[in-house]
Amino acid sequence: MVNIEMETCRLTDYADLESYRANLQAKKTENKVITICCGTGCLAYGASKIGQSFKDEIKNQGLEGTVSVKFTGCQGFCERGPLVVIRPENILYQRVKPEDVSRIVTETIRNDLILDDLLYTIPSTNEKVRCEEDVPFYKKQLRLVFGTNGYIDPTSLDDYIQAGGYQALNKVLSSMSPDEVVDEIKISGLRGRGGGGFATGAKWEITREAPGELKYVICNCDEGDPGAFMDRSLMEGNPHSIIEGMVIAAYAVGARQGYIYIRNEYPVALKNSEIAIKKAEEKGLLGKNILGTGFDFSIKISRGGGAFVCGESTALMASIEGRTGEPRANYIHTSEKGLWERPTLLNNVETLANIPLIINKGAEWFYGIGTGNSKGTKIFSLVGKVHNTGLIEVPMGITLREIIYEIGGGIPGGKKFKAVQTGGPSGGCLPEEKLDLSVDFDELSRAGSMMGSGAMIVMDEDNCMVDIARYFLSFLEEESCGKCVPCREGLKRMRQILDRIIEGKGQDEDIELLIDLSESLTMGALCGLGGSAGNPVLSTIRHFKDEYVAHIQEKRCPAGVCKPLIRYYIVEANCNGCSLCIKECPADAISFQGKKQPVKLDQDKCTKCGACYDICRLNAVEVK
């Protein structure tokens, strides 16, 4: 029988792994687990302090051994953090503060009493929800890939194995030939989750068939896309699932060396994946002679330098080679000639995390989820002007309306929905008419946007679409590597035109010119960054042309965003002269007129910083 000694031992064959797993499950003594979400969001709200308090409290109350405390990765519901879930009942406490800790341990852990004030309340009905799965935010989701995050400690290999980890690797190595693995992925219909949506099985097959002894597998965790953070959360919360996916991929394509390319801005992802690699190597699940089969595969970590263009495969590989991350023309695919000119398989984090699932549950099962050409689930980061921000995993085919209103809880502050931006800087903005669109790769492209990495940014009536278009252009202009002319010059010119429109100097022909330039970029740019750079501009022109017209012809910004075209006013009827805004104004533009008298705003001095608007609690400042 497996004993403690075993824990430091390598697993040398298939049966070893299974008996190790059985032993872990048998050894489990605690009957309750308190999981504390330690995603970036919850950490920012003080999750680590709460975790420590739980540990201390459990010690003080003498509950060690029967209750354990687990720090998990992101559980998705960032808006209501810090999140504490008590398992196995899955009682969800949200916005937990350090002073709540002893109460939770005494009442809920010891006496099985629910603390009503810490439960999530459905705003429309005031109903308290006890279990995680009954919260509307989670109810409509199908958390196949992301759900495990809430159950495991990312730094513990045992946790992952206990949850069924490395079972897929075991199955592949013991009973499947590389061709069978490739076929399985092809049948599943899985498409790359990084943006392009290229068929994963086909990519694996091309790499497998490419001539060459040395091949590589790269996991792309660069995630430069503003608005997306699912790769980060997966890498931080469940690094072993990605490593398992990589080893399976390596076995299928015949690679011996792998790289995880991680942004340097993601220190926790870096740390957790380093730990995971080390532990998997110690256990014989990675490195030389994996599970005693003679198959070798090792993984190195390569840190990115914070360049958006490095999400582009050729640029990413240049960066791993220690050169500047400039893309090259992609006449020959990286699957055939990639890293150091050798066949290279590059997959996104989420794609790889799907692999063990497909192997375990079968390609047919996976194929049964989703729509026509888009199978499985997709993780979206639902952010911006929406009640419940966070990470959601939904089956393909769900509508935008379900996502924004049922999972997201609608638009806060009684404001009106204006648009949802999907697919990051390469995607587009979709208006209200498109809310019933079912979300998958093809439907989104047909509507002039794209899946991209899965960023979903909701905007309300206070967002100006011209400003959003300019925002994306200035972002892309800054991130363009400058190697090809259409991208380098085209983006600059487009940004200048939009600057002019925003300054109130727009000309009638500007819209046409923007469309022309966008199309030239699509045709002429060297890589995906430039090729899709026109999308935000084209989609905003297509759906929100009236806003462009208002800026150009009426010299007016309807949303009240573009500084040169707006003015702040004091609504005298609402102002009681509390002078909060006077203290806040950096330009001394507001003056006190006497007690209970409305304040006065000097338009000549006003720098339009909006500080008064933000601080006023009486709706006495208006922007027009």
Partner: protein, 156 residues
């Protein structure tokens, strides 16, 4: 921050040894050097090129291409304002404006007393909290202009 040439050389040499002198690890080496010095002084770039026996231009091109690197000294406290889309739609620009006004320097610059450096990031991956400011590696979410003074004072 003033560091003499010898200690820069020591830091660089150690980092190069740590990465086995492998030129393909150049990005990681520059990151490690910067983690210790907060920026990349000229001497460090020259030394790396010498140690790895690669052209100075190559090191320089990598050091200027990636956003993570700074060739200018940075202040004691680092304020990184996230300008990602989610933060942008929730008013990141206003927050940046306010910080710039309070400190009288623009993004990318350091205050004269070397106390603060303001930077912008295109996304720090905490989109659900937007607008986000990362103050010395600590995330401050749901930033508003009226919170700016408090976070600056907290840095002391």
């Amino acid at each position: 921050m003033s560091v003499n040439k010898d200690s820069i050389y020591n830091i660089v040499d150690e980092v190069v040894v740590k990465h086995n002198g492998d030129p393909s690890m150049l990005v990681a080496m520059l990151q490690d050097v910067q983690a210790q010095l907060y920026f990349l002084p000229r001497e460090s770039i020259v030394r790396i090129a010498e140690k790895l026996d690669i052209p100075l231009t190559r090191v320089y091109s990598v050091a200027t291409f990636f956003r993570a690197f700074s060739l200018k000294p940075r202040g004691k406290h680092n304020l990184k304002v996230c300008m990602g889309t989610a933060c942008h739609v929730r008013g990141a620009e206003k927050v940046l404006d306010k910080i710039e006004t309070e400190l009288c320097v623009c993004a990318g610059e350091t205050t004269k007393d070397m106390k603060y450096t303001i930077e912008t990031a295109n996304c720090v991956g905490a989109c659900a909290l937007g607008p986000v400011v990362v103050v010395d590696n600590e995330f401050v979410g749901q930033m508003t202009t009226d919170k700016v003074k408090t976070i600056l004072e907290k840095c002391n």
